[in-house]
């Protein structure tokens, strides 16, 4: 009893110190905690909550799992999922490979390299809407010069944004045109590879491919991984270019009382975020739009986890 009594004040002091320490930590973390709570946790919780309701921004009516069930019979959502996956599978690797190739080339150029870097980076600086409209105009078979010039030399290019089979490849080309963001970080990574490694490899008789495979790739792979995963997340949120390309190639203008179907032509440019926007802000099915948002969040989360794990793995290697 006496021992307990003597130990008591020390324990109390230690507990107080721990509490003070925790409060201090929380105080330092509070800007992040507040931001996280208001801008992430609350919107996420609200999205989950509203997904169980029929909600048109004004009236809230519980509908159980109806919104989730509708996802399985909504043909637009499935078309959008297929298109978005196509873009993830084709557009992301294309951008990374093209960006890497370009960066390799620019890293080797001795004279005029800076000018070329600026030229290749410039399209990325153009606002997406303006860039898309310009691109659609340039490749339009009727009004643009590219298809016309190609036809004169005997090459018949496709009707990119009016042919369902060529719309997504057209969007991929547009993404390759604006490759500046990927190119610049890969170029920085390439320039960071120690030259001594190449010199040692050359002395050992390694050819260019072996040097690339054994030195360049392992050294820049964290940056490559970063490009891939951020590219996937960006592509899952692909919206502006697809929507603008569809409207611009269709040639129609929005008029009072006139509606145009999304995803022109034949749903080929319909992406998942477009469906989400259409459901939420055109049809006012906010509850169902929340379900779509959660699906998008879950898929993006999976890729983010992969990113974190891979980075962790790289950290261990180091």
């Amino acid at each position: 009893m006496a021992a307990v009594l003597t130990a008591g004040p020390a324990t109390v002091v230690a507990t107080r110190a721990r509490r003070r320490h925790r409060i201090r930590v929380l105080a330092f973390m509070s800007p992040w905690l507040i931001g996280f709570s208001f801008f992430f946790a609350y919107p996420l919780a609200a999205t989950v909550y509203f997904s169980f309701f029929r909600y048109n921004l004004f009236q809230l009516r519980p509908v159980g799992l109806t919104n989730y069930r509708f996802l399985f019979k909504d043909p637009y959502a499935w078309t959008a999922i297929k298109n978005t996956l196509w873009l993830v599978v084709v557009m992301v690797p294309s951008r990374v490979l093209f960006g890497l190739g370009l960066a390799q080339l620019l890293a080797k150029i001795k004279r005029g390299g800076n000018l070329l870097r600026a030229i290749f980076y410039l399209p990325f600086l153009i606002p997406p809407v303006a860039a898309t409209v310009a691109f659609v105009f340039v490749v339009n078979p009727g009004t643009g010069p590219i298809n016309g010039i190609a036809a004169k030399i005997g090459i018949h290019l496709p009707d990119w944004f009016n042919d369902p089979a060529w719309t997504k490849p057209g969007l991929t080309l547009l993404a390759l045109w604006g490759i500046g963001d990927v190119m610049i970080i890969l170029l920085a990574a390439l320039l960071d590879v120690p030259k001594t490694l190449y010199e040692a490899a050359a002395i050992d008789g390694a050819n260019a491919w072996q040097q690339f495979r054994r030195i360049t790739l392992p050294t820049i792979s964290p940056v490559l991984m970063f490009s891939v995963v951020t590219g996937v997340i960006q592509t899952l949120q692909y919206f502006t270019q697809a929507m603008v390309a569809a409207n611009a190639s269709q040639g129609n203008a929005d008029q009072a009382g006139t509606t145009t179907a999304p995803g022109y032509p034949d749903g080929a440019s319909l992406t998942f975020p477009q469906t989400l926007y259409n459901e939420g802000f055109q049809q006012f099915n906010m509850g169902y739009a929340c379900v779509l948002a959660l699906v998008l969040f879950a898929v993006a989360m999976v890729f983010t986890l992969i990113l974190l794990r891979r980075f962790h793995a790289f950290g261990d290697d180091d």
Partner: protein, 440 residues
């Protein structure tokens, strides 16, 4: 501590109950807020943004300012439906809003985002008969009239006199079909050089909602459900459209349509003399005046199917709407503004002259102050014609028309539909599922 929480809960409950009891309990909304005679400022949101549009609206409002010097009107340009809904939901709406999309009237009225104007209309004995039936339809949803029309758009057939080669504009679908074939000029490889009439949904304004009314279609049945498979009008429209499309050749039409420029550019094929006949809105008159003043053309109502010749003269009608949001701080002054802008002939005519749109009341159509070209008369006649129609409002923003358009453009025209009835039945199910999801 518990006691403190209990006090808080009691206070919150009391506040909630007090709010619930007082909300809407202060009598008719037509009498709430400051009197219209009191000095006040009202904020009006509208969607026009081009300088000449903004000026035209400002000119139209000038008369109201003179009539109500106590009411200061603050006009806010370039607003859309999303901004309007967010402002209403945020509890800080403007006093008056105008929307370009009649498709959202169902959402505005059913959700209560815009106030039902019936008490205001009854209080001031406004006769709705000054608006044509189609206009009365697109400004309300299931009896809740939460908007009034602010100018209108309607559609007619434009014919290029030089390309018509002395032929009279068609009045029936068979005449249109025969003329379309006769006036079409092909290149040696069979592609289209000059089109008589392009039946494709992808040609600018040749969308189903503008052409299908000629076949007397009813978009939704009495229960508010999709009617595509049940209404023979849709089948007639689609079969006619496909047969003319096949005469041209689907690929030829596609190539021709895709080689054209944007709808509102001087490269428009009707303005360029590449299309002899085209259905378009009344605004084209002003575009032709500015961009192709040398083109000689006529306007006539859109041809009707041969079994509906008695309905010739009507057409598709739509337009801009205006209303008072829920939570507007100056509802009485707002109503005075809405009433003036939607019923005052001088205001409507000033605005219509500025924009080249149709003034939205029947009395305004015969105003001597209308200074639009003679070709505009057709649009004024179509507007007041009792056979003119519009599309019904729904809770999900005209989703049924979007889905039908997709079906026509992506399935029907390329020949992917082997069984039309089956295809339309499937479409009905999709539309109905979406309507049910939205609570319609």
């Amino acid at each position: 501590m518990f006691r403190r929480h209990r006090r808080l809960v009691t206070a919150l409950t009391a506040t909630l109950l007090a709010t619930a009891c007082t909300a809407g309990g202060g009598g008719s909304p037509a009498d709430s807020g400051p009197k219209a005679e009191a000095p006040q400022t009202i904020e009006v949101w509208h969607g026009w943004s081009a300088p000449h549009e903004v000026k035209a609206f400002d000119d139209a409002v000038a008369g109201f300012r003179r009539l109500h010097p106590n009411i200061t009107v603050k006009l806010v340009k370039g607003q859309d439906d999303t901004k309007i809904l967010n402002a209403v939901r945020g509890g800080n709406p403007p006093d008056v809003v105008s929307s370009f999309s009649t498709n959202n009237v169902g959402q505005f009225c059913s959700s209560g985002a815009l106030q039902d104007l019936t008490p205001f209309l009854q209080k001031d004995n406004v006769d709705l008969g000054i608006f044509p039936q189609a206009v009365q339809t697109y400004t309300q949803y299931k009896g809740a009239r939460c908007t009034l029309p602010l100018l209108a758009d309607d559609y007619a057939l434009y014919t290029n006199k030089a390309l018509m080669k002395g032929e009279q504009p068609p009045k029936t679908i068979s005449e249109l079909t025969a003329l379309a074939k006769k006036l079409t000029v092909r290149n040696p490889d069979g592609s289209i050089k000059v089109a008589g009439f392009l039946p494709s949904d992808t040609y600018y304004e040749h969308v189903p909602e503008h052409i299908a009314p000629s076949f007397g279609v009813t978009w939704l049945n009495a229960q508010g459900r999709a009617n595509f498979a049940s209404d023979p009008g849709f089948t007639k429209y689609l079969r006619w459209q496909k047969s003319l499309l096949d005469w041209y050749g689907y690929d030829n039409v596609k190539k021709f349509v895709h080689s054209m420029g944007q709808e509102f550019e001087a490269s428009n094929p009707f303005e360029k003399g590449k299309v002899a006949m085209a259905v378009d809105g009344e605004w084209r008159v002003k575009f032709l005046q500015q961009e192709a003043p040398k083109v000689q053309y006529a306007t006539t109502p859109v041809p009707v199917n041969d079994d509906r010749q008695t309905t010739y003269g009507g057409g598709f009608v739509t337009g801009t709407v205006i209303g008072i949001p829920r939570g507007a701080r100056h509802p009485q002054a707002s109503w005075e503004f809405v009433k003036y802008m939607t019923t005052n002939t001088d205001a409507l005519v000033t605005f219509a002259n500025g924009l080249g749109n149709v003034p939205s009341t029947i009395p305004a159509l015969s105003s001597p102050k209308l200074t639009l070209p003679p070709q505009f008369q057709t649009f004024l006649d179509v507007f007041k014609n009792p056979n003119s129609t519009t599309i019904p409002s729904t809770v999900n923003g005209g989703d049924f028309i979007v889905k039908f358009q997709s079906f026509v453009q992506d399935q029907w025209e390329p020949g992917k539909v082997s069984d039309l009835h089956q295809g339309l039945t499937k479409l009905d199910t999709q539309v109905d599922n979406a309507l049910k999801l939205a609570g319609g």
